[in-house]
């Protein structure tokens, strides 16, 4: 089926006029970000203070306009939203909080995976390595990513309903509490870290570079919101359809029972 058909037939499933507006704005933002990242900003080239050689990240810096926004949302915003929604669920015990937590964490897991991937691709030319064991944020993000995968695995197999929601909420809350401990322990584990030292602070932050980074963060927050919105609605539909199935089968049993009664009479 062609993409266009999918988009068209989806109307009425998880879209609403407002979400469509947000989706269009996000799409426009992504295109603008792309133009800024690739055509309007300059590559990161500096002159070495003594030798006068050209140093810097050159065009690899263009990966950061993608990596940094996702690195703020994937390992920070999304787990936070997920944990807050999980606490909300344990207090209110309504489907809304449960589905919200699931949506935020699923989208967060995708962003975390992409953060690790783009970071690795960026690290190869700039740090000269695909993977840096000594880097705190890298290791923390990896462990978090694995915890989020565990959460999603539990979601997939746990029996539906209250039981699943309760267990998932606890896993999400423990993951969020554990996050600073992991961060601290990895920091002590290898006290050297590449991240702050050699990237953003050293980067020649020009006005346009900074603007593009900020724009990237805003655009990706919009994208995150839009994705979570649709994931939420899908999760809601799935729960409702399960409920409908139960109602239907109760109805069926009931009509069978009436038939039987009439038969015996």
């Amino acid at each position: 089926m062609s993409t266009r058909k999918i988009f068209k037939r989806n109307q009425g499933a998880t879209s609403s006029p407002k979400s469509r507006l947000l989706g269009l704005a996000t799409l426009f933002g992504l295109v603008t970000l792309f133009v800024f990242a690739f055509f309007l900003t300059d590559p990161d080239v500096r002159l070495h203070p003594t030798t006068g050689e050209e140093i810097g990240q050159f065009d690899a810096v263009r990966l950061l306009y993608l990596h940094v926004p996702m690195a703020i949302i994937g390992p920070y915003v999304a787990p936070l939203v997920g944990a807050v929604a999980s606490v909300g669920y344990l207090i209110k015990r309504t489907q809304w909080w449960d589905v919200t937590a699931h949506a935020a964490i699923e989208v967060g897991a995708i962003f975390c995976g992409l953060v690790l991937l783009t970071g690795s691709i960026w690290g190869r030319p700039v740090w000269n390595t695909w993977w840096e064991w000594g880097d705190v944020r890298l290791m923390t993000t990896l462990i978090l990513f694995l915890m989020l995968l565990g959460y999603l695995a539990l979601r997939r197999v746990a029996p539906d309903g209250q039981k699943q929601a309760r267990r998932s909420a606890i896993v999400a809350i423990v993951a969020a509490i554990n996050l600073p401990i992991i961060n601290r322990s990895v920091e002590w584990w290898e006290s050297r870290t590449l991240h702050q030292k050699s990237t953003l602070s050293e980067l020649k932050i020009e006005d346009l570079t900074f603007f593009t980074l900020m724009m990237g963060i805003v655009v990706f927050l919009m994208l995150f919101t839009w994705l979570v919105l649709h994931r939420f609605r899908l999760g809601w539909l799935e729960k409702e359809s399960l409920e409908q199935d139960v109602l239907t089968s109760i109805e069926e049993r009931r009509s069978e029972a009436t038939v039987n009664e009439e038969g015996t009479l």
């Binding site: 037939r9 995976g113 539909l237 359809s241 409908q244």
Partner: protein, 48 residues
Amino acid sequence: MTHLGYLIAGWGISLVVIFAYVISLFRRARSVAPRVPLDRQRWMTSSE
């Protein structure tokens, strides 16, 4: 442009993954939506 391969890989994979995720969301929603009565799809009743 230097590092073109890295740039294409990084941006390309990210955008493709997100796009594929969006498509999968839409497909799943489309298959499950007919089984749910419209008055239980709140975003439909409230806005249209």
